[in-house]
Amino acid sequence: MLRCPRQFTGWMLAPVFLIICALPLIAATDEATYAVERKALLAEIQRDAAATADSTGRSRFNARVIGAMDTVPRHRFVPAGNADSAYANRPLPIGHGQTISQPYIVALMTELLEPKSDDVILEVGTGSGYQAAVLAQLVARVYTLEIIEPLAESASARLEQLGYRNIQVKLGDGYYGWPEHAPYDGIIVTAAANSIPPPLIQQLKPGGRMVIPVGAPFHTQDLILLRKDAQGKVSTTSVLPVAFVPLTRRR
């Protein structure tokens, strides 16, 4: 074994050569390819939804949610360098220490909000704007707040360029919500929160739902679903996105 390397140096360059040759092909990936990848991703998400029925309480995601995700070009929401991974079912970095959530988690969060076509939704933590774009297909209006200035600007420009007319992006403190448009049918707090701001709960309509993903960047482990009943009473549940039981089966 120790004698080999000198003979093999030439061959070892072969994969590098192949990758260099393939670069133009990768660059040429066009919208049609993305559409195919997106369909495959959504099929995968539906399979995962069936597998996680026990923990999420829904055996498949609403066709409207999946339909909405099918119309949003996720590759336009990720940094150019990561466009090839846009339809991989994984979170991606978008700069400033922020991430765009794993598509399955986006689908689940959207699903948990139970969006209806005349709903008004507040999002705290715009990020890339992807979640807002998905919601915009499903509801009447989406108001979204971002506290990181460059992200607010780029998301706003991107959403405008893509023609989303029912989304408003504002740079500002999420703590006090956006009282001008309150109350909301649904609120989604995607900014990692170390407390749930009371003003947000106040701005939720009776019967409304709030979804809060919890965890570190790249590591959303748990979703908190807050519901306000018709009498205004608040209750919370933890929804585990993954079909995982912490004990081995023999117990």
């Binding site: 700069g95 506290i147 570190a216 960047p217 790249f218 079909a243």
Partner: protein
């Protein structure tokens, strides 16, 4: 060789050795700041890669360089001086992100790049040492002494330098020392001095922003700084950590982890304090009115104050002072708070000017063992930040405050009827909360207390708080606990006599796993529950102090299968990064240390060379097993991981060096080896059962460092002997195999440092030391003379 020339060479070597060790010490600090894991083993491993590769390079080209020794030495030292700041500046700009490793195995490539770049300065320095020893064979004793003395001083000076300079800036001093070492060998000619001069200029002119740590954007500090309105109020750098204080008047922090959803008041103005760019705590403004602290009473940590009134309180880990303020709010009779970082302590002293509060510098374990007061309440806040804990980033960090022995020590400080309260982050499925419960059960059993009636556990949506009472919990206690939970929307999770229908009412979980776990851990089948739980929640001990390590290998295939649903997020990234480092270190060390020797075309390892091969392999593995295990074990005794690491690193280098020097002059080789190895085995077993001493027995850190040096010295001295004894035997029996012996030993060392850390997590330090003893014995038995 002229006397003056000899003295100059000795001085150059001492300077360069000091600079190399100082660079290593600075890396411990720098990597802890820019990445998560404060992981010493990785840095030791990459330093050894540089040394190993240098050994191989000299075996191939050393003879050709000897005729131009001075120029070669000066070039090597100058390259070291250039590489120290530049490699750091480039390495920290690589897009390596440990958190992304679970999603993207391509991150391993960046990890390899980081490893390789940081090892480059060690390569240049080691080339110089090796060349000098070849050049001045007859004066090797003096040079060796200079090398060791320089290294020891370098480690001590670098640690001292960290009190004066930020670690990034201190790299310049290291580079200048390297360049001076080069200049001393360059001779007086101006043209020859150009290279060292260039190195000095490049080190001094590099902009601060290149060297200052660029903290990974996913840590808390950069994320907080990205928020509009955030500005750095102050920054304090010391060996204890980099403290950064952030003010934001535009968007206040409102840091109130785990606060009840029923709370409506807004937390007061706060400053955020980050240690090494993460682990945020908040310093909240207190205007002297108790009502202004009421917001703190809405967290699970406030529970104990509703069971006892006006207690004497001990807070272990004062941080930003939230637990001290909570004690103030409840009008505690006396408040003592311990804080490890002296800078943090000074900040708190200025911030909380209250006569009832006594702040104590020091580490929790040592304080709990030496303090003679009894407390009605001991509060232990969460050790890690929510984010860091969520991603398992600290899985490989020793956490001595959360071991079975720690809880037993704290319990011993309670007054009759007193409470120990431990708060941890609540996650689904439960990990920390359950492991803490298991640890408390075990600690009480060790103390001979039947735990059932002494424990109570509640949870909110983000934190859980465990109470351990000295004495049985009463019906009145439980009534107050229920009332506390009722008014704040928290769920009782365990107390004696709890009903299953009251554990999952408010913040509803898919299953009440924490409650079910608590019941199982108190029942007869606790052992099988721990074995069947998919995360590692067996209590941490001082021998295996990895509280945040939850990963078990059988979990991996299941979570990979579930990655589409985010299953991978349940893995501990800190552990995976270490495994990843081992994965990249294997090919790198084979490629750079062993493979190039194939060109020597002299006898290569075959069956006849198997025995010496195994001998040097065993020595490489065993030496680093011992060094790493001692570094981590002595952390508790010394009281701070950095000081323990530096003391053990310098101690092993100097005393093992002395041992190998003595061994190279003995007459009866075989007998010396037998006695040395017998001594090593005995001392290792002694280290395993009787050392290190308990924490807190010496007041000053300096004394503890000196005691540590003294305790590892005899072991290190003997451990320095087998390697040169083996080499001198090879010199007679098979001289052509010598470069291979160096190479095999080098590769083994690179991998062993990482392997030792992984084994310690699974088996404990004691087991690693016993394995090292076995490897030493095997080395001798396998190649008898």
């Amino acid at each position: 060789m002229a006397r003056r020339e000899q003295a100059l060479l000795a001085l150059s070597i001492a300077l360069l050795a000091g600079a190399a060790l100082a660079y290593q010490v600075l890396l411990f600090r720098l990597l802890a700041i820019v990445q998560w894991h404060t992981f010493a083993a990785t840095i030791i491993s990459l330093a050894l890669l540089g040394h190993g590769a240098a050994g191989t390079a000299l075996a191939l080209a050393g003879r050709r360089l000897l005729p131009r020794f001075s120029a070669a030495f000066a070039t090597g030292a100058s390259l070291f001086a250039v590489a120290v700041p530049i490699c750091w500046a480039v390495a920290q700009r690589l897009p390596f992100n440990g958190l992304e490793l679970v999603w993207n195995p391509a991150q391993l490539g960046w990890l390899a790049g980081l490893f390789l770049l940081l090892s480059l300065p060690f390569f240049f320095a080691a080339c110089c040492f090796g060349l000098a020893f070849m050049h001045a064979r007859e004066r090797i004793a003096a040079l060796y002494a200079a090398d060791l003395l320089g290294a020891g001083l370098g480690a001590a000076l670098a640690t001292g330098l960290l009190f004066l300079l930020p670690a990034g800036g201190a790299l310049r001093a290291v580079a200048v020392a390297g360049a001076v070492a080069a200049a001393l060998q360059s001779g007086p000619k101006i043209t020859r001095l150009a290279l060292p001069a260039l190195a000095v200029i490049s080190a001094l002119l590099l902009p601060h922003s290149w060297l200052a740590p660029r903290i990974t954007e996913f840590k808390g500090l950069p994320r907080t700084l990205g928020i509009m309105g955030a500005e750095v109020e102050a920054e304090y750098s010391s060996p204890y950590g980099l403290l950064t204080i952030i003010r934001n008047e535009t968007i206040p922090f409102r840091h109130a982890p785990g606060r009840s959803l029923a709370a409506t008041s807004e937390p007061p103005a706060q400053l955020a304090v980050f240690t090494d760019g993460d682990s945020m705590t908040a310093m909240s403004v207190y205007d002297g009115r108790l009502e202004s602290l009421a917001w703190l009473d809405q967290t699970t940590s406030a529970l104990p104050y509703h069971l006892i009134s006006r207690p004497r309180v001990l807070v272990l880990g004062a941080g930003g002072g939230a637990d001290v303020q909570l004690a103030l709010y409840h009008e505690a009779r006396e408040i003592h708070a311990v804080e490890l970082n002296p800078t943090m302590l000074e900040l708190l002293r200025a911030w909380l000017d209250e006569p009832r509060v006594q702040l104590h510098p020091g580490e929790a374990r040592g304080f709990a063992r030496t303090d003679r007061r009894r407390y009605d309440l001991i509060q232990v806040p969460p050790l890690d930040s929510y984010g860091g804990s969520g991603a398992g980033a600290q899985a490989m960090a020793e956490s001595f405050p959360y071991t079975v022995e720690a809880l037993a020590d704290y319990y011993a400080r309670l007054a009759p009827g007193g409470l120990l309260a431990l708060t941890s982050w609540e996650k689904q499925p439960p990990r920390e909360g359950l492991k803490l419960f298991a640890t408390a059960v075990e600690a009480l059993r060790v103390l001979g207390v039947e735990p059932r009636n002494h424990l109570a556990l509640i949870r909110g949506w983000q934190t859980s708080t465990l109470l351990v009472k000295s004495g049985a919990l009463t019906a009145a206690d439980i009534g107050r606990l229920r009332a506390f939970c009722d008014s704040r929307g928290f769920d009782p999770t365990w107390f004696p006599g709890i009903e299953p229908d009251e554990v999952n009412r408010r913040h509803r979980l898919p299953r009440p796993w924490l409650y079910e776990g608590a019941v199982a851990l108190l029942g007869d089948d606790a052992e099988s529950f721990l074995a069947d739980y998919k995360f590692h929640i067996v209590p941490a001990t001082d021998d295996r102090p990895y509280f945040f390590h939850f990963f078990r290998w059988p979990l991996l295939p299941e979570l990979i299968k579930l990655r589409g649903q985010g299953g991978l997020t349940l893995l501990d990234t800190g552990y995976l990064v270490l495994v990843g480092t081992l994965v990249v270190a294997v090919p790198l060390s084979l490629l750079l240390i062993l493979t190039p020797l194939a060109v020597l075309r002299r006898p290569q390892p075959d069956m006849a060379r198997l025995r010496p091969g195994i001998y040097f392999l065993c020595l490489g593995l065993a030496f680093l097993f011992v060094e790493i295990a001692c570094m981590q074990r002595y952390g508790l005794f010394v009281g701070h991981p950095l000081f323990a690491t530096v003391a053990v690193l310098a101690g092993f280098l100097v005393f093992a060096g002395a041992g190998s020097f003595v061994a190279s002059r003995v007459r009866n080789r075989a007998r010396t080896l037998r006695w040395a190895v017998a001594g090593i085995v005995v001392l290792l077993l002694l280290q395993t059962v009787a050392l290190p001493p308990p924490p807190g027995i010496f007041e000053s850190t300096t004394t503890r460092v000196i005691v540590t040096l003294a305790l590892v010295a005899p072991l290190a001295f003997l451990m320095g002997m087998p390697f040169p004894l083996g080499l001198s035997r090879l010199a007679g029996e098979a001289p052509a195999f010598i470069p291979w012996a160096w190479g095999i030993n080098g590769c083994a060392s690179v991998l062993s440092a990482l392997l030792a850390a992984l084994l310690a997590v699974h088996l404990g330090f004691g087991a690693v030391l016993v394995m090292a003893a076995g490897l030493y014995a095997l080395a001798v038995v396998n190649w008898p003379e």
